[in-house]
């Protein structure tokens, strides 16, 4: 039930999200500032958080290095934003 899907915000007033060509109305009232082009996690029609692309890329990079056998002791990315 806690499933949330990443959607691209294509309109903000009223807000519309897009995923795989499908568009639906979303509610942005739980977030402070959202712009067209942002990706958000949508749960039950509400955007509950923005996705951080820079951190996502770092995580993927880290997973890729780890998967190939490297960086076993390197810290997980993203903690620099803490």
């Amino acid at each position: 039930m806690c499933l949330g899907v990443p959607m691209k915000v294509v309109e903000v007033d009223p807000a519309v999200g897009e995923l795989g060509g499908l568009r639906c109305k979303i509610n942005l009232s739980l977030l402070d500032s959202v712009s067209v082009g942002d990706y958000v996690i949508v749960h039950a029609g509400y955007a509950i958080e923005k996705l951080d692309e820079k951190v996502a890329r770092k995580t993927l990079q880290f997973m890729s290095t780890l998967s190939r056998g490297g960086s076993r002791t390197a810290p997980t990315p993203g903690h620099d934003r803490i």
């Binding site: 039930m1 806690c2 499933l3 949330g4 899907v5 990443p6 109305k25 509610n27 009232s29 739980l30 977030l31 402070d32 990706y39 996690i41 749960h43 039950a44 029609g45 509400y46 509950i48 958080e49 996705l51 951080d52 692309e53 951190v55 996502a56 890329r57 995580t59 993927l60 880290f62 997973m63 890729s64 780890l66 998967s67 190939r68 056998g69 076993r72 997980t76 990315p77 993203g78 903690h79 934003r81 803490i82």
Partner: protein
């Protein structure tokens, strides 16, 4: 970056699983037991065949993080009572329809006034479009869903809607995790060594509410995303802590989750709800693990408005859902599993929800170990 397919790469998944195996190979311990608290993790572990990739000495337990599964029978009975009140429209997330109450389920009753909605916004529209009816939303879910329900109450308040109500059964995770740690320790010989914490509950509440698990109980926690690579990466991080003898709360799902969570969503919850004791199916009453409407919003409380009598409930005979939810049994231990209890004829709630442990085992049992 679409944030989905990138995190489902098969080759990377195999590599991560190998890293997990080599991490455990070098350690002295005979076996490891960790729990994924959230039903969405359980479902995706099965859906993506992750169990088959993981080493045999790693035991994954499913937890109580499936809102439908932990909803008590009495709540379903109350919803059914309300559905029979003339002029009432019940709005609910689809998962709730099949959950058996003492005598029947909302689906079996096949009433025309029970509507499946995707969002509380749909329920509000229903209330606006039907001013002569009373719309009751079945408010079930954890911290992920609570702000969306709270927001609908605020919206109804702003619009002066007098015919929108919520039948509250919201629950919060950290409190039940505490009871679980105390309970599993007491009742079962399986030492729980770590938690994979829920992705989207944590999106709202952040990482801090789990810190007591590390501090008081020495149990490491990792907040992992729901995609297969996230789950494997999260397990790797968790086992890393266990092997090194550490206990911290780490965030794997850092592209979404911040330590402080989503303060705006927390403020909306705080405005509308206050903590209360809550009954969890199979676990019992857990102190302050629920959310009830605050005094100034009590006119939206369906239980108060309709003053529904507390029903006398009957739990299904032989059903072990309670043990599944505490992680002390697995579905094959249940005599009903796959025989009297199947997804088309569920006896217990863990077989009803698509995220229930029993439903996941039933659907993917051929691929599980």
């Amino acid at each position: 970056m679409k944030y989905m397919t990138e995190f489902r790469d098969k080759e990377l998944a195999r590599g991560l699983a190998q890293r997990i195996s080599s991490l455990l190979d070098g350690s002295a311990s005979g076996g490891y037991t960790i729990m994924e608290v959230c039903g969405t993790h359980t479902m995706n572990i099965f859906r993506y065949g992750l169990k088959g990739l993981l080493p045999a000495n790693l035991r994954l337990l499913s937890g109580p993080g499936c809102p439908v599964c932990v909803t008590p029978t009495s709540y379903i009975d109350q919803a059914i009572t309300l559905a029979h009140v003339p002029g009432v429209i019940i709005c609910t997330f689809g998962d709730m329809l099949k959950v058996p109450g003492s005598e029947s389920s909302l689906e079996r009753l096949a009433l025309g006034n029970v509507k499946v909605v995707y969002s509380t916004a749909d329920a509000l529209s229903m209330a606006e479009a039907n001013p002569d009816k009373k719309v009751v939303f079945l408010g079930v879910g954890f911290e992920t869903t609570a702000p969306t329900i709270a927001a609908s109450v605020l919206e109804a308040d702003r619009k002066g809607l007098g015919n929108y109500f919520v039948l509250c059964s919201h629950k919060t995770m950290p409190q039940v995790m505490r009871s679980l740690v105390e309970d599993v320790g007491a009742r079962c010989n399986v030492p729980l060594q770590g938690f994979i914490c829920p992705a989207h509950v944590s999106t709202i509440i952040g990482s801090r509410p789990y810190e007591f698990l590390a501090r008081e109980f020495g149990i490491p926690c990792v907040i992992a995303g729901f995609e297969p690579l996230d789950i494997l990466h999260g397990i790797y991080m968790l086992l890393g802590q266990i092997v090194r003898g550490e206990a911290r709360v780490e965030i794997q799902y850092s592209r979404v989750v911040r330590p402080e969570g989503n303060p705006r969503a927390q403020a909306v919850i705080e405005e509308v709800f206050e903590p209360c004791d809550a009954e969890w199916r199979g676990i019992g009453v857990v102190p302050m693990s629920g959310l009830g409407l605050r005094g100034r919003y009590q006119r939206f409380d369906a239980a108060l408005h309709f003053s529904i009598p507390a029903p006398k409930t009957r739990e299904p005979k032989g059903c072990l859902c309670g043990d599944m939810l505490r992680g002390v049994k697995t579905p094959p231990d249940c005599p009903l599993f796959g025989r009297a209890c199947t997804p088309s004829h569920p006896v217990g709630p863990c077989m009803v929800s698509s995220e229930g442990t029993c439903a996941a085992w039933f659907k993917y049992q051929g691929e599980s170990k």
